[in-house]
């Protein structure tokens, strides 16, 4: 494994490009496929807005998870932290504070759980899988307890604008939450690929003892990766609260697996030492496009591409007229994950 700072600028770019090629090509194929089979609905500005709003939660989780995974760890608590943060923000809004205060508290709650994870994994040296499995349960339980086992609704006059797909100043084009995510993605991508801290994260993921010998503050760096991941899960929770217009303690159940899948599809090595923020985002958008597109497929529109009516009817009778059923979608995502893992294996040989 090579660390980015050991390579020249061009070679570094080139290696990143090669890593991104697979996931990006896969994303293009998916977009192309749905553009062909769902022409009227997939390739529209409205759907671009929708798809971007649908992806933000997993994208934010995947950015944080990339840091943890590149540093050789894993964080299973993301889904629960999203729920906890959304419940916390909802409670703060209901208590009469402003949306901004609520958002800050939601993020702070995420950061707090991230710090606990960091303490358990980096300082107490527990295996990351076990430690975050524990906090996953704790955060979910606390969320249900705080919310008294039901959904917390803010007062009637409270309006959620962060995730409005047709934002109020029209020139924004996308939901404000999407712009927040884009800014975060650029900042965190820069940190991972361009700063000393990013190089440290990579180095402890690829060879921890070598990194320690080189003077990398391993414990502090690992701590920070979990804290950042928790913080981003907190942001995701705030956005989820705005999207559902309520704090739901059962939301994002199993989201951690979707996030890990996005990171793996994006070309990161689960063994640590490699991964890019860009790749993980591509992975997240790929999965979101798959589920969005599967809902939009209209077999009868295939006629325009020269497919016979009988063929379209056969496809309809196989998959039903309601596009591609949910179980096919689940199988597809599973297949994509396996292919991504196989590609990763080939690179390492």
């Amino acid at each position: 494994m090579s660390t980015p700072n050991s390579l020249s600028g061009w070679a570094r770019w080139n290696s990143t490009f090669k890593r991104l090629l697979g996931p990006s090509a896969a994303l293009c194929v998916v977009i192309l496929f749905f553009s062909l089979v769902a022409p009227e609905s997939f390739c529209t500005t409205q759907n671009a807005r929708t798809l971007s709003a649908q992806s933000v939660v997993v994208v934010l989780g995947a950015i944080g998870m990339t840091f943890v995974v590149v540093g050789g760890g894993i964080d299973l608590s993301i889904g629960s932290v999203i729920a906890l943060s959304s419940v916390a923000s909802a409670l703060v809004v209901r208590a009469g504070f402003s949306s901004v205060t609520a958002a800050l508290i939601g993020c702070a709650v995420g950061l707090m759980v991230g710090c606990v994870n960091g303490f358990l994994v980096a300082s107490a040296r527990l295996p990351a899988f076990i430690a975050t499995l524990g906090t996953m349960g704790i955060a979910r339980g606390v969320a249900k307890w705080l919310a008294n086992q039901s959904t917390i609704y803010p007062p009637e006059d409270w309006t959620s604008s962060l995730m409005a797909k047709n934002p109020d100043p029209v020139w924004l084009l996308l939901a404000p939450g999407v712009w927040i995510t884009i800014v975060i993605a650029l900042a965190f991508g820069f940190v991972l690929s361009r700063t000393v801290f990013g190089a440290w994260v990579t180095s402890i993921g690829s060879n921890e003892s070598a990194a320690r010998l080189c003077g990398v503050p391993v414990v502090r760096v690992r701590w920070t990766t979990y804290a950042l991941c928790g913080l981003l899960a907190g942001v995701a929770g705030v956005l989820q609260f705005h999207r559902l217009s309520g704090g739901d303690p059962t939301t994002a159940n199993g989201k951690e697996l979707e996030v890990i899948a996005a990171v793996v599809i994006g070309g990161a090595a689960l063994s640590g030492g490699f991964g890019t923020v860009g790749g993980s985002i591509v992975g997240a958008i790929l999965m979101a496009s798959l589920s969005n597109g599967c809902n939009l497929v209209d077999w009868n529109s295939l006629g325009r591409w020269g497919v016979s009516t009988e063929m379209a009817q056969t496809l309809s009778s196989w998959f039903g007229s309601s596009g591609i059923p949910n179980y096919v979608q689940e199988i597809l995502v599973g297949v994509v994950i396996v292919i991504a893992a196989l590609a990763d294996r080939r690179r390492h040989r």
Partner: protein, 333 residues
Amino acid sequence: MQSLTTHSNFRRSILVLASLVFIASLGAFSAQEKTRPMIAVIPKGTTHEFWKTVHAGALKGASESGVDILWKGPAREDDRDDQIKVVESSVSRKVQGIVIAPLDEQALVPSLKEAATAKIPVVVFDSGIKWDGRSSFVATDNRRGGMLAAEELGRILAGKGKVVMMRYVEGSASTTLREDGFLSTMKEKFPTIQIVSSDQYGGATVDSAYRVAENLLNRFADLDGLYAPNESTTYACMKALTDLKRGDKVHLVGFDASEKLVAGLRAGSIDALVVQNPFRMGELAVTTMAKVIRGESVPKDVDTGCTLVTRTNIDEPAIRTVLEPPIAQWLKK
């Protein structure tokens, strides 16, 4: 050198893909004609028997009123966020109408408002929503169902005795109405019947409801009647009555039908069941939406009806179609 080649290969493939995407998006704007209106029907889930029955009814309604339906549930059963995604993609698809059983009375409001902004009418069925932009609300009149149960239990007990009403869970709107309807009818029509307990919640699982039923039966040794407001509590009461051998003394009136409950009704463990009509609910939801699309006026609330099933009427053809709706005829797969 090799790395340079890879790089230009990469750029070339990106160019090819980009142009293909461009061509595809050109195709997106060519007009397409459709003869029958397309309606999205969005249930709370897809694997439960209840929703399969609604699906069959929706297909019948579609064939009656000359529309096509898109049956699409949330990818993860009972996940609010996933149901919002289905609404959003229905708007993207530009369906002519959305028929939805909302998982949450508030979480779905913003996305349905967006549908309304896009001039797509919305019919809500099964569960209510805190939004008055809907064209119609098609659901079981749960209060009436509770009243039916009270009338039957009062008739069986001939207006006297001690009755326990078990509740389901706190905050469940449909079952609370069934409980309120039962209590008010009992008070009005059978003032001599003594309701000895009406504040015990069975909880969401059969397991918890079973424990509550056992405790209630032990507490009231001279009980005459028992009412349970949904499938799981009815099953728990039936099981507790059978296990404690109190079945021949205590009369049980329950709500909803399942294979086990119908078998219990035939065996005599249950005296009567109030049964909803999910098949008719699916049918009425779709036909109501078809009327909205044609510009006809529709009532704000449509009752899909409750039926009282007893041992004597269980084999009548009308009751049979409620208990065993023609699912196979409409769902070919």
